[in-house]
Subunit: 317 residues, 2 copies
Amino acid sequence: MPKLLILSSEIEEYRNRIQQANLANLEFTDQLDDCDIVLGEPRVIREKLPQLPYVKWIQSMYAGVEALMDPSFRHDYILTNARGVFGELMSEYVFGYLLAHEKKIFKRQQAQQDKKYDRFESGWLRGKTLGLLGVGSIGAHLAGMAKHFGMNVHGFTRGSETSTHVDRYFHPLESDSLLSNQQELAPALQSFASELDYLVVVLPRTEGTNQIVDADLLNALPSHAVLVNVGRGNAVDEPALVDALTQGKIASAVLDVTAQEPLPEDHPFWTTPNLLLTFHTSAISYPEDITRLFIENYHLYVEGKPLKYLVDFERGY
Amino acid sequence: MPKLLILSSEIEEYRNRIQQANLANLEFTDQLDDCDIVLGEPRVIREKLPQLPYVKWIQSMYAGVEALMDPSFRHDYILTNARGVFGELMSEYVFGYLLAHEKKIFKRQQAQQDKKYDRFESGWLRGKTLGLLGVGSIGAHLAGMAKHFGMNVHGFTRGSETSTHVDRYFHPLESDSLLSNQQELAPALQSFASELDYLVVVLPRTEGTNQIVDADLLNALPSHAVLVNVGRGNAVDEPALVDALTQGKIASAVLDVTAQEPLPEDHPFWTTPNLLLTFHTSAISYPEDITRLFIENYHLYVEGKPLKYLVDFERGY
């Protein structure tokens, strides 16, 4: 009989939601040494990992599972993450900030405060080109929304060309390599970057994504381009971004994530021109969404079928 | 042989674009008394209306044609307006401000300026209800975009239920009446308003739309609701809106249009709390779009077929 341990600050809500689903045979436990299934937050799970002798399947409540990836940790269980639920939330965030840029809403608010009836023109997403650095399930959802706004969509990915909403795919030159090699990546990435109006980074934190948005990539972007990072802070070379914004090499940047969170008080990002910080709020794991996904996988688990949203420990996501 | 007069501040651009289309038999003229077709801006056309003896068809470059509606003006020609081209532009504006509200982007910018790493939660369009006051071609486009964001869409219209993206339609009680009667309208409108998170006004200026958004309607909206007006300023009872915002009866308002434009320097809107002004910039008549539409109608005109985007002088739009 499967026994589930929930490791989260929202245990009660998850337990209630799962109980309402009346899953055949599922028992709840609060004992670490008595469960075969864990549903939880990666950082909470990490602390308990050595004390889970019988765990066979862990369902992460988050998309990012880097907390469980350290090669020194055990990887003798099936890990699945939260996927397919953040696309629509991330779309609201990304298109909110893209439209804020085109509609110049901060500048318009200033005109109002200055009591100036100033009819400067808006820009438009229609016809612009959005580049997705990373085309997983979130990237694919962003691509679909971009098409609704009449945008061109370019995608840079190591993976296969699974989203039909991406008009043009770019790949690293050595597409078989899982670990990145900046020297090899650079030409393909720069050619990808040079045609973009918006670069949206949707990468997981892995060794291969460290500082992939570096000075070369920022230089390759047109000077009117806007960078948005909703993936992980490790993807951006932060001093290079401060330089690019200060020198006007790109128009602006919207960062939901930073290398260090919370952002240190003395970090230059607080006052870098044309930089907007949103403090890791672009998407949230809602128990309603995560429970749906857990139940979907639970049925597969009890039937002995392959689970969905599998994490590849070697790839790191 | 059809002769076209262009009455616009962008004559050259329109002429070049139309010439590139090589329309059979079309001649250009700059003589008022020598044309049967006029393509132009309604306010420019109004001045010339008495001096156009042979005009048969006028294609407006704008959606709003109230400048030509005065009952004392001649109406012995076919008037078509610009339709179907503003929906996607208006969608960018409307969803830009809806998302700015949900993502709290002004409050987040303030947190950054205050150097506070404050992770207050965003709201979401997903699951919210958008009410369209007016469901013409712009309203229908907004409805479609709202569905992409997972919203419920309610529509209030005198017309027929033509948009499949509207989940629920509301109509005035006396649906045959063309002129509004506030006493009759009120109950249906208030029931429409009471369930909304967002009320977007997309009405033309007619006698029937004067001050349709009055104190009663604003009172009927939930206190967290947001009003957006991208139609015409006449639709809003402006002192009532100042009261509603000042007293927190609704959460905020975004006005692209006002009764008087430019907004007078001493107008209370400049400093009304939670009111954003955007100075009639939500959509623009781009020659590329308007030329496409003119050519479409020109072919129908020379073939003697009914034109598209016909304005009904009695209805006023």
